[in-house]
């Protein structure tokens, strides 16, 4: 119960904090819109179905965009603020502190998601008909939280890099590319598909699409949630290992 409260309050606190910067909020909404606009122009020559396919994909791109760079530099930010040592020294497990931060980062992407769908509707006339509304409502938070959990794993994995933001930023395009946001996975070489299968955004995207366009979204949503939990479990193990190493070698501050 205490842990659930910590996760909930941590999420609320960081979501509010991340929402405070007008400039960053604007960027989180506007930046993915540029890519969505290009996609809409390219797909509008095709069927309305293709345009809706692109609209849903572009909307989830924003969630990943909000997570990748920010999560990569999440620990570095605490380091700059001088709070990393305090958080590590706190009696609460460090994972319970970091997880809400990265989930809040991905949740900020919901603004972008909504903006992209509205942008597509208003400027390109893309109607969003949802075949399975209940699944759709379930698929979005599961996808956002799973992406946040993926962000947690990235944040932990990059803890030893001062320039973690650049590594996080680097992951933006590849995940957009191979998770099927705008390009069907069948277009890629066969060796790419197993990589996309271990990425939660792939299944979240499929769940959202199947919910909106019709199909069987529940298995995809379940796999997305399962992968998110797996990332968290790996991240927790990594945290223990890395913090032990940082304590032994006195390298937490990277100075």
């Amino acid at each position: 119960m205490r842990n659930a409260r910590l996760l909930g309050l941590g999420f609320l606190f960081h979501f509010k904090m991340l929402s405070r910067s007008g400039f960053n909020g604007l960027l989180a909404i506007v930046y993915p819109l540029f890519f969505a606009t290009v996609a809409f122009f390219l797909f509008r020559e095709g069927s309305p179905h293709a345009l809706l396919y692109a609209s849903l994909g572009a909307s989830v791109m924003g969630v990943w965009s909000a997570t990748s760079t920010s999560a990569g530099s999440a620990l570095q930010r605490e380091r700059w603020h001088g709070t990393l040592e305090l958080l590590v020294a706190a009696p609460t497990h460090f994972s319970l502190v970091m997880l809400p931060i990265t989930i809040a980062m991905s949740a900020v992407g919901i603004y972008s998601m909504a903006a992209t769908l509205i942008w597509g509707r208003v400027l390109f006339g893309i109607d969003l008909h949802i075949a399975h509304p209940v699944s759709f409502v379930l698929a979005i938070p599961v996808t956002v939280i799973s992406i946040g959990m993926f962000g947690f794993l990235i944040a932990v994995a990059f803890v030893r890099y001062r320039t973690a933001w650049a590594l996080g930023n680097l992951l933006e395009y590849p995940v957009w590319l191979i998770c099927g946001f705008l390009v069907p996975l069948t277009l890629f070489p066969s060796w790419v598909q197993p990589i996309s299968w271990i990425l939660a955004p792939t299944w979240g995207m499929r769940g959202i699409r199947q919910s909106a366009l019709g199909g069987t979204p529940i298995p995809d949503i379940a796999i997305c949630a399962g992968l998110g939990l797996a990332y968290t479990a790996i991240g927790v193990l990594l945290v223990d290992h890395l913090l032990r190493s940082a304590r032994e070698n006195a390298t937490l501050a990277l100075t």
Partner: protein, 261 residues
């Protein structure tokens, strides 16, 4: 002589001191790997949408990605002085402002050329496009002019950075505008009229068009007009950027906003 030293030596020193992306941990992922993935993203979107050839996206995105070094580096090497608390010292010097500010653009242009050429060659090799060997020289010239033109825009943004705190956000937004408007991925003929009209005044638009024609086998003389237009657009931004820098310098003295962060 002093002006030449400020231009070349001062420009290089400022670039190395203030553009912290030169660390391999930032340079490699940001300037060498990311443009390849941008090319691949749009090549595959293009294949999925069936709009244009792979070559169209390789050329468009390789040139458009030059915007990242040209805009970010240029704004960092000027607006970055504020964050280092050295802007006051720079502006207190009697050094002529033209070599002081514009000299910082030369390393940025070279950086832009290198990034663009790398993306073009590696992205093209991965996707498998054919470019006639006779086009290599003219393409190099087009890339150089496009990088210089985009750096002109970077100087303008750097000037804004003397007053606006969030230059990184501004740079990203400008990058996105160039992505949509310049025809890097959407042919100008497919854009609404007002967008293709505005694109004529943006850097990279004419350079991308010239590079595409050269890659398709056109001669240098047939695209000289486009390269000239690209150079003219870049020169206009350079003049505007320099004028705005001087204005911002004057304003920051008048309103005491030089060090406000």
């Amino acid at each position: 002589m002093t002006g030449a030293r400020i231009f070349f030596v001062g420009g290089l020193l400022s670039y190395r001191a203030l553009f912290n992306w030169l660390s391999p941990w930032i340079f490699v992922p940001t300037f060498l790997i990311a443009p390849i993935f941008q090319i691949l993203l749009f090549v595959y979107i293009g294949r999925s949408a069936g709009v244009a050839s792979d070559k169209f996206y390789v050329v468009g995105n390789a040139l458009q990605y030059a915007a990242i070094p040209c805009i970010f580096a240029m704004s960092n090497t000027i607006a970055g002085e504020r964050f280092q608390q050295t802007l006051g010292f720079v502006l207190a010097t009697p050094a002529a402002r033209l070599p002081l500010f514009v000299g910082r653009s030369l390393p940025v242009i070279l950086n832009g050329i290198a990034v663009c050429a790398f993306a073009f060659v590696v992205g093209g090799a991965i996707v498998g496009i054919d470019v006639p060997s006779s086009a290599v020289g003219p393409l190099a010239l087009t890339i150089a002019v496009s990088a210089a033109s985009c750096t002109g825009l970077g100087l303008l943004i750097a000037a804004v950075g003397l007053r606006v705190r969030e230059t990184a956000v501004l740079n990203n937004i400008v990058f996105g505008v160039l992505l949509v408007f310049t025809g890097a991925n959407v042919p100008l003929s497919d854009l609404p009229g007002w967008m293709s009209f505005l694109a004529q005044g943006m850097p990279l638009t004419h350079g991308i068009e010239a590079a595409r024609r050269l890659a398709d086998g056109a001669s240098l003389s047939s695209v000289a007009g486009l390269i000239g237009a690209e150079a003219a657009v870049g020169a206009a931004y350079l003049v505007l950027g320099y004028a705005l820098l001087r204005f911002m310098e004057w304003q920051s003295r008048r309103l005491a906003t030089l060090e406000s962060v």
